[in-house]
Symmetry: C2
Subunit: 342 residues, 2 copies
């Protein structure tokens, strides 16, 4: 499909852009009163994820309200374990919770490889609806969690500062770990292929818990599975966002992804120099800058762009926008990117 | 005082050792049934911290039971905000909670610089009692939080995955931030000096939340205050443990500390090569290794020592030992270190 605004696709594929494209991780969410109005009508977050009409509506909201250069489908990385047979709940103010967690190889064997058309049809329906409503205004980003990050929740059962159970499993049961990662990877590949068939124009892989693994474990238990996914998704550009994994940037740079997301702590110059002109970079303003004055937001945003350069670059935050961020601050960030002269 | 076992002091000051000294962060704590027995008699964690006889008793337990080469005084980094006028509670299974947090410069002005002899006498009493009971068997480590980490709790009010309020304060109110960090630093210097006068033989500074700051902020809002503390503590060796701050290792190496703690993700060879023979290194086994078999624990421990070398080195974990770790696993780690042939 042709897009009226294809800046993000051009940047991701290394074509010259007339201005820098910009979007925000978690742009469809609690920062927008329009989102909260819909969310408050429902029983919970999971109901919103499973209702395609409403998921599509909140996906479009930031395009209408913030004028960002891409939409990202409203969903959650934990729909994959659920489709594999391990359901989760989203507990208000606490985050995800799995009533059952994976402890044994028998449990791993009982999990199935997700069939997106039956188990995740609600996400695909939401993508089709969002594409229809977007009508080519901007591209739509699909996404999934990296296998290690999804694994971490399936073992730990909830968010955690240390994910010590999940990390411990890698030492205690490497074979079980690889078996589970394999099943998650096959599920994720099928899921992301279905997303692109339903209309997703780019794919982002979120490795939210990359940053708690020692490097040797990251290179053994996370990155190879990410690379398998990158290789399997051939028709659209893939972004890898491995939060906290500056230590593995040389190896991430060797995957076949088009774009690499940087978190707010990563070193822009080091990464650009390391990866050269073959990769697009995305990121990485500290979301906390958006608590400052508009003058400071504009200053920090321009400084960030000075470091990234204007080509092979997609402006974003270095983490999902925090829920208590003011919409005006987000708009100031977006405007500053758009007004940056090439 | 002369110690029967002064291995850790020799290692910290760069003298040759006949075998590698070993202790564990959080060794005095929930892993020991003997600790839990005492803890369960009390109303809570804070009561234990404030009762010198019992704090001294749990300080000694790991020396008796695990045969480690150092004791560390049982206390908490948040006694400093309390002594400054901002009390905290420890909520079971949730962690620290401050009923009031710092939001304004007026509040900062109302805080006092802690006077250890009056406000923190219970810690000093515990140190004196522990020293007496240790009777020179092994050295006693005193400690405090790094000013940034203490600041983070005083602004945020509790633990947090993002510490977005605390990080946001650095952008919004840099002057307030520096004022508060200054007061925490003065309090900490007075506190640590009192600890050494009461008998602490080494000091460790815990910068538990170093790893969430962008490098420029770390170098502005954290490390200069740590250096002030290192310079002020002249009579005993100081260890800096800045969790997650591999990115600032060159700068940490330039502080006047004797020993640098490595977390489980930090690169041993890189750090050793960077810092050369002027600093002692401490760490850094992934605490999750202790969930594996004794055979794997021994193998991973030996591999770690191979990388660190045997001199200018103190064996430890790369994070506090996790509460559900088996005592036998801890003993296997300690034995493996002690049996490593120089």
């Amino acid at each position: 499909m042709l897009h009226k605004n294809d800046l993000i696709l051009r940047a991701a594929t290394g074509q010259p852009v007339s201005r820098i494209p910009v979007w925000l991780m978690r742009q469809a969410g609690r920062i927008l009163p329009e989102y909260r109005a819909i969310r408050n009508r429902l029983s919970g977050f999971v109901e919103l994820v499973r209702t395609p009409e409403l998921a599509a509506e909140v996906t479009i909201q930031p395009v209408d309200i913030l004028d960002v250069d891409a939409a990202i489908i409203f969903s959650d990385i934990l729909v994959i374990p659920e489709a594999m047979g391990l359901p989760y709940q989203m507990v208000e103010k606490k985050g995800p919770y799995f009533p059952t967690t994976i402890k044994t190889m028998d449990q791993v064997k009982q999990l199935k490889v997700a069939d997106p058309e039956t188990d995740l049809h609600y996400v695909l329906d939401a993508i089709r609806l969002a594409k229809k409503e977007l009508a080519g205004r901007v591209p739509l980003i699909g996404f999934a969690g990296a296998p290690w990050t999804v694994f971490a929740y399936m073992i730990e059962g909830s968010g955690s500062k240390t994910f010590s159970k999940a990390r411990g499993m890698l030492y205690k049961e490497p074979e079980l770990s690889h078996n589970l990662l394999e099943k998650i990877t096959l599920s994720t590949i099928a899921y992301l292929k279905s997303q692109t068939q339903a209309g997703a124009d780019l794919i982002q892989i979120f490795d939210s818990w990359a940053g708690i693994l020692p490097k040797s474990h990251y290179l053994t238990f996370s990155l190879p599975y990410i690379q398998r996914i990158c290789q399997a998704i051939e028709n659209v550009p893939v972004t890898v966002f491995a939060k906290g994994a500056q230590f593995a940037m040389p190896e991430i740079g060797k995957t076949s992804c088009a774009t690499i997301g940087l978190d707010w702590q990563m070193d822009i110059q080091y990464t650009r120099q390391l990866l050269g002109p073959e990769k697009t970079l995305q990121g990485n303003l500290d979301p906390c800058v958006l608590y400052a004055s508009n003058q400071d937001i504009a200053r920090c945003t321009r400084k960030m762009i000075d470091a990234f350069g204007t080509q092979r670059y997609i402006a974003n935050l270095g983490h999902g926008v925090y829920p208590d961020t003011k919409v005006d601050a987000v708009k100031c960030f977006i405007e500053t990117v758009k007004n940056y002269e090439l």
